[in-house]
Amino acid sequence: MKAAQAIAVRLLARWETLLVVAIVGAGIWSTTLSPFFLQRANLLDLLTPYIFIGLMAFGLAFVVIAGEIDISIVSNMAASVVCFAQLYAAGVNVWLAALIGLGVATVLGLVNGALVSLLELPSLAITLGTLAAYSGLAYVILSGEGVASFPAGYSKIGGGYIGKELPIALLVVIALALVLGLVLHATRFGRYVFTIGSNREAARFSGIPVARVRMTVFAVSGLMAGFAGVVYVGYFGSARADAGTGSLLDVVTAVVLGGVDIFGGAGSMLGVFLALILVAELRNGMQLANIQGDTQDIVIGGLLLAAIIAGNLLRAVQGGRIRVGPLRLARREVVEHEATEAIIASKLAPENLKGR
């Protein structure tokens, strides 16, 4: 009995549980909004337009958990998409071209990683720069109207269906979420990412190859931008230098709503995936009820706030006190005065967090 209770309490205290509750709540709301919401085809198709955003969010999650940020991720996707499209237009086999696109994205991610990790530069400043640079690169490679009409076999990854209703892209995103979840939560590399995000100095002292892991994290982010590009082209059938414009905010929303600590050191793949579902579900429900686009934005923003505040209240009540600290998405703060001083003095801290 006690054990069951303990498990229940631990489950309740998890961010993911709150997201599931929110998903159910949003589902009930959407059902009242529109009779079309509960149709099986609609439910299965819910995520498809947002899968490229989810894939980028998965990649960004690694970077954020390691205590960094990658603002350039959407530009990176655009750059890899146009490389891929130009190669395809030049007659290269579509799959080979897609593979090269993935490679390009990974290299661009690595460039971010090298600047941040080898030169010890702040990731926010660097990726604000590469945000513009990669976007420019995309226009240099493919200016103007872009490439369309990709072979049907290829478009299936993004826009194909099994048995008319089950989107193939849904399987792609679930598979990648599983793989990345395993990498993050069940490998030594994943453990290193968390440790570095929690306390980089400590990680270094404990013999973790900090520089290498930090570079790898950016490479993963790049690779996922590449995958996002592959799905993007498959689903939308359009490859232009401005691919993904205006998606950065959505990507960051998925990551932070997914419970990833913006200061690093905490977060889960499951959380990001659930956050993606929640946002997609709400958008879909409101879409089907023809709620205006700007009202949709307000509701999503409100939800973001409500989710965090509800979490705070939940913990307050559970803790049996009204006053609590910030919601502990397992966020840790450097308390030791000396440690902070050391970090500031050695200028190791200025990177981290945030974006648009």
Binding site: E120, P122, G129, G136, D294, D297, G301
Partner: protein, 348 residues
Amino acid sequence: MSPSLRGITPQTLAAAVLRLREFGILLALGAAVAFFTIRAPNFDSVGNWQGIAQNVAIVIVVGVGETLVVLTRNIDLSVGSIVGLTAYLSAATFAHYSGAPLPVVALIAVAIGLCLGLANGLLVAVAKVPAIIATLATLAIYRGIDVQITGGGNITAYELPDRFLKLASTKPAGVPTLAWVAAGVAVVGAAAVRWAPWSRDLYAIGSNPEAARFAGIPVGRRVITAFALSGALAGLGGFLWASRFPTVDAVAAKGFELDVITAVVIGGVNVFGGSGTMLGVALGALLVATIQNGFTLLRISEFWRLFFNGFAIVVAVTIDALVTRRLQEALRRRRAEALAARHLEAGA
């Protein structure tokens, strides 16, 4: 910190300049100006510098507020939306009451911005929502409200009184009015950050929130103040925006937060809180505007221009970081040597 009067020699002066945190940015700015003066036609003309000043002004006004927030280890992503909303409301006020006095409308814009900023501050300090999430949400919410108020329409320059539009077009003493306002805001901000007791608290909070709390600093109140001021300055920015870009619709200043944050970050403000100066932010904004302007003047392809813009920012950040690190190490070594020498003297 500052050398005592009688000790001023060329050496100490040079050392003081080198000790400036902004030395790296100055160096990057100098390099950019030198490059463009040689390569870009008309870059060094008065008209062009007036243009750069014009472009950088609103970024600095809003950037000063953003800096206050970032110093406390928070961030305000909603400034673009606040600028957009207050720009529309300022324009709408003039459109309905063409006789409204400028300072009154400016105050209304500032007050609205203050309220929106206050809401951010309360969310962060009282509801304990992490700043990036809170302001990401209000970015969407404030913009959504803006779209609903405009109803998909706009206010055009024709509906606005000339004296309001003149605000952006006049150039007292050869410097655009907007730049004067920006300089004023930056100086006041720098002075406040240097001397006001509450602003020193901001640095303390940003360096170490827990320690600040133990030291008896009213952390919550200071954070709320920082957000409120950031909102108020964004409100002022919105008022200026409507004068500079007088056809105001719901997309006004969309994405502007990215420009502001770029200036703040390039200006050397530590996004992990606790360090940064207003001079740095102003220089950061100037550096970005100079780079953008310079490449536009170079007769190169538009697409390469975009690439070089970003590339130059990366280079500038690198120069700044490397120079600062070198200087700090050199200073530390010199201080250690001096200390050792004094020990030796004492020993002898």
